[in-house]
């Protein structure tokens, strides 16, 4: 699966980074960077948690 970010919708709340720090982080400007867009296995679970926790629904998982 691939993590997709709706960039205009992202407001940098950072809850996704807390859920999946191995996959994404906020940079020094507070912009979200997806470090590992293609995920499976244990990373897929972390990605699902990050997608679920985004308060503004800016993340989703799509077929790779």
């Amino acid at each position: 699966m691939k993590i997709e970010l709706d960039r205009p919708r992202c407001e940098g709340h950072g809850l996704c980074e807390e859920a999946a720090p191995q996959l994404m982080h906020l940079d020094d400007d507070g912009e979200l960077v997806i470090d590992v867009p293609d995920v499976d296995g244990a990373e897929l679970d972390a990605a699902k948690a990050a997608v679920r926790i985004c308060p503004v629904a800016a993340l989703r998982l799509a077929a790779a």
């Binding site: 919708r9 407001e11 709340h13 503004v56």
Partner: protein, 390 residues
């Protein structure tokens, strides 16, 4: 098409507004969507149904977030009452000063102000928590942030309360609040950059308008939404923090012993007592939820507090547990209209909880006094009969 499941309650009855949780439990057990003929309304009661609706603006439009046509008409063209794609641009303008990245520099000042205020209250022996903390603190923070001065600062509480109240149905509370909400609207329509303190975010919004970065005339609307949405709700949350720590001393002790629990404690305060009772949507098509059909065009009411106590989603939902960390609670809403000010709300509330944990050993509270209110559920008076400072 299935027959709607009905209840003959009035969701804005005084006794329900003051203590809605028994009613929420009954409605939630009836169905995920329950028709209330008395209110001409379908309420959403279960966690999944609420979250799905908030994440699906195509089926649940924000054209009627309020429960009377006058207020919905007045809100047309604002971020609050619009749907994607128009919403996306309006929201960006509204939220650019409120995102965590924009607020990063404020944390130190907010923490210092909370610590000073709470330290004074802790040393006072006893205090009334709503006026002296729950109202005083966010009003000072928001006033400084937006740059309100003089008579505007004095009006923030009643204007902010009225702005929420008029979202209700055309009951007496709404009727009485329209003139006050009108004062706020009138002031926001005529406010100029010079009315706001130099260096404030409010002044910055006018500067952005002058530079053509945001549409002409939108600065006043943005100020209106900051005041309308950001005052009454935060006041409710901070009052709830004091009341719940007073009621659950063992939970407060846990936070005092483990300051890293502060964010989890605030999430649990928001889950346990939702600051917003009900919020509107309009069904754009027939929507079936767990076997109940909401017809196209119906007014929908989202009961955040009912979803937050849904046993299908949270274990022991009626237990206040600061270790639960319910980061997915519904009190900030969810999706494209998720609370734009949640970063600021968290900064303020975390600062208050940290200060209480640092400065206070024990709180002994009296009964909280509540008055029925259409949209916000907050405490009117809360006497801290005895506070023991650290």
């Amino acid at each position: 098409m299935t027959a709607p499941i009905q209840s003959d309650i009035d969701i804005w009855a005084d006794d329900i507004l003051v203590d809605p949780y028994p009613t929420y439990a009954e409605l939630r057990e009836q169905a995920a969507a329950v028709h209330l003929p008395k209110n001409d309304l379908y309420v959403l009661t279960r966690y999944d149904a609420i979250r799905d609706a908030l994440g699906d603006p195509e089926s649940f439009s924000s054209a009627s977030i309020g429960f009377n046509p006058m207020v919905n008409g007045a809100l047309q063209g604002t971020s609050l009452a619009s749907d994607p794609p128009v919403h996306t641009q309006l929201r960006a303008v509204l939220s650019q000063n409120l995102t965590p990245r924009a607020l990063r520099g404020l944390k130190v000042v907010i923490d210092e102000k909370a610590d000073k205020l709470v330290a004074e209250l802790a040393d006072s022996g006893s205090f009334e928590a709503i006026d002296s903390l729950a109202r005083a603190f966010p009003i000072e923070i928001v006033a400084d942030l937006i740059g309100f001065q003089g008579h505007v600062k004095d009006n923030m509480l009643r204007w902010g309360q009225a702005a929420m109240q008029v979202l209700g149905p055309l009951n007496q509370r709404t009727q009485e609040s329209f003139p006050i909400a009108g004062e706020l609207y009138g002031w926001c329509s005529s406010v100029t950059a010079e009315d706001l303190a130099p260096g404030s975010i409010g002044r910055g919004i006018f500067d952005a308008e002058a530079r053509g970065e945001i549409p002409e005339g939108s600065a006043g609307h943005i100020i209106h939404q900051y005041l309308g949405a950001g005052v009454d709700t935060t006041i409710a949350s901070i009052g709830n923090i004091v009341a719940l720590f007073g009621r659950h001393a063992e939970q407060f002790d846990l936070v005092r012993a483990n300051p890293e629990l502060v964010p989890a404690a605030f999430a649990e305060v928001l889950r346990y007592w939702a600051p917003v009772h009900i919020w509107g949507r309009k069904a754009t098509r027939d929507v079936e939820i767990d076997g109940v059909t909401i017809p196209a065009g119906a007014q929908v009411g989202i009961l955040f507090g009912a979803g937050n106590r849904d046993p299908r989603h949270y274990e022991n939902p009626d237990t206040f547990d600061v270790t639960r960390n319910p980061v997915d609670h519904l009190s900030f809403g969810y999706g494209p209209h998720g609370c734009a000010g949640q970063g600021l709300a968290k900064l303020e509330a975390h600062a208050v909880i940290e200060a209480l944990a640092r400065r206070v050993q024990t709180l002994t509270i009296g009964d909280e006094v509540r008055e029925p209110s259409n949209i916000t559920r907050s405490i009117e008076k809360l006497q801290v009969e005895k506070v023991v400072a650290v």
